[in-house]
């Protein structure tokens, strides 16, 4: 697999080597080797069931929480294997935020408490620090102006798009290095989607972003790099425009021309 010219010599933020994952009897990922560049948006595309969700869930060690889940291979974050025996998965998850397909704010918590949950539940009690983190994260997620006067309202009282930005703010508050997004806009309308996409392009200044999407327009709009997965294999990785205009693999071409689902 040849690296795009723009990435030669770039130290990857995340690198997987022979990453395999599955459930009890079946492998879903069959050895993924990929290099994710820092401070860029990388889109993961591929037909339904090819293992995109499983892949990103391996990157923050969430996959292993599913009963029967298995993982093999390496996933190097800044060169260190997050699957090393001595690595604490909880510490890994603090460095790698995640935004889920369906907005999932904590229903019993206020907007404020949702945002600072990661800090407060990890023992941060300093009110000033929490307030600061709440405001910064909500600003970062472009939600501050919409909620600043109702921070004590329930997180569940927001619209779907606002809830998703709340979930992004919640992920930002713990100051991760990488943010994983699994089809973050699939439950949202076009306006809310546009907001999240704009947000993503802003966030890459400070974060490395990996986004799963089914939508090629979306990948073109937000992603610097795109990778195509098929049946648990990474088929191709390249600069987004390049991959869509001149796919090197036949499978990629068939996918982007809509020849299969």
């Amino acid at each position: 697999m040849s690296l795009p010219a723009s990435l030669i010599g770039v130290q990857p933020k995340f690198e997987t080597k022979g990453l395999k994952a599955g459930f009890k009897s079946t492998w879903v990922l069959n050895g993924i080797d990929i290099k994710i560049p820092p401070n860029r948006v990388t889109a993961v595309m591929g037909p339904s069931g090819c293992g995109k969700t499983t892949f990103v869930r391996c990157l923050n060690r969430l996959h292993e929480l599913t009963p029967g889940a298995v993982v093999e291979g390496e996933a190097l974050l800044d060169g260190e294997d997050i699957y090393d025996r001595n690595t604490d998965p909880v510490a890994v998850r603090r460095r790698i935020g995640m935004v889920f397909q369906k907005p999932n704010p904590f229903p019993t918590m206020s907007i404020y408490h949702n945002v600072v949950a990661g800090l407060a539940l990890n023992g941060e009690r300093n009110k000033k620090k929490l307030d600061h983190a709440a405001e910064q994260s909500l600003r970062g997620a472009y939600l501050w102006d919409e909620v600043k006067d109702k921070l004590t309202d329930s997180g569940a009282s927001l619209s779907g798009g606002q809830q998703q930005r709340l979930c992004i703010a919640r992920a930002l508050a713990v100051e991760p290095e990488v943010i994983l997004m699994d089809e973050p806009c699939s439950a949202l309308d076009p306006t809310a989607t546009a907001k999240i996409e704009e947000l993503i392009t802003q966030l890459k200044k400070d974060y490395t972003i990996i986004i799963v999407t089914h939508n090629m327009q979306q990948a073109s709009r937000v992603a610097d790099y795109t990778t195509f997965f098929y049946l648990g294999k990474m088929i191709e990785f390249g600069e987004t425009a390049d991959l869509f205009e001149n796919p090197k693999e036949e499978l990629t071409e068939r996918y982007i021309t809509g020849k299969f689902g």
Partner: protein
């Protein structure tokens, strides 16, 4: 078909309605403010009060609940969050058996455990019996109410780098807490109405309790004891006590409805 269903509903409700109506009609004459401050009367000497029963029941149900809540909630959390463990399977099974156990047998067990060695009926023994009766109810409702907390919330929490036990205590339980409260209320309701185990553990005292290791009266015992006696005023006292008990149950059940019906949204978490 719908007519048949309505008919069977009516038939099912009628006995309940008759019982409640009967309790109200027969018990109301006994009720006055003195009924809550006095002690049961001598034969043919007015209606007195059931303070000994009220205080005894409060004491024993209260202590029993204090014992049963931490154990029951703890067990429920364990069943819900570690279902794959073998201990969980075993104790969950035990819990089911215990829930169906004849309460008189639980009473006899506590008799052998506490009453016989201490050589006295006592509030402690009564409370222990009630705790054992409440335990499986609280454990099961805790388990059920935590199991329905969506996995997506647990994952959201874990993905923030919040450890599993904190996720359970601060996110899962906080989300399922109305179910927990319901379970505790159901346990209290069940314990408050129990008679048989108290007969063999707490006995009866015609005065409000003054110590934990003495015979202790309770509302159900008053109903049993005075309702089967031959004096008309005693029988009315029993009905009055029954009315107090039924009213208490009604309030508890309404509270349960309140907790179940309440939306979890809009509630501030106390982080």
């Amino acid at each position: 078909m719908k007519g048949l269903i309505l008919l069977s509903v009516a038939i099912a409700i009628i006995p309940l309605f008759l019982v409640v109506a009967n309790v109200v009609v027969e018990g109301l004459p006994a009720i006055s403010s003195g009924f809550f401050t006095g002690i049961p009367p001598s034969p043919l000497a007015g209606y007195g009060g059931i303070l000994n029963g009220i205080e005894g029941s409060l004491l024993m149900v209260g202590m029993g609940t204090l014992i049963a809540v931490p154990l029951g909630v703890g067990a429920g959390i364990y069943f819900s969050e570690w279902p794959e463990s073998r201990l969980s399977f075993l104790s969950s099974f035990t819990n089911d058996v215990l829930a169906e156990f004849p309460t008189i047998v639980i009473g006899l067990f506590v008799y052998a455990l506490v009453v016989a060695p201490t050589r006295t009926f006592s509030a402690v023994a009564g409370a222990l019996a009630l705790a054992i009766i409440e335990l499986p109810i609280i454990a099961r409702t805790t388990e059920e109410s935590l199991k329905i907390v969506p996995i997506t919330l647990r994952e959201a929490s874990m993905a923030l780098g919040i450890p599993r036990w904190k996720t359970i205590f601060r996110v899962v339980i906080s989300t399922g807490k109305s179910g927990l409260a319901t379970g505790i209320l159901l346990g209290i309701a069940r314990a408050t109405g129990e008679t048989a185990p108290l007969i063999v553990t707490a006995g009866y005292l015609n005065y409000p309790p003054t110590g934990l290791f003495q015979q202790t009266g309770s509302i159900p015992y008053i109903i049993y004891n005075f309702g089967t006696a031959g004096y008309p005023n005693w029988i009315t006292v029993a009905w009055g006590a029954a009315l107090v008990l039924v009213a208490f149950m009604l309030i508890l059940n309404l509270s349960v409805k309140f907790f179940i019906g309440r939306k979890s949204t809009g509630v501030r978490a106390e982080i």
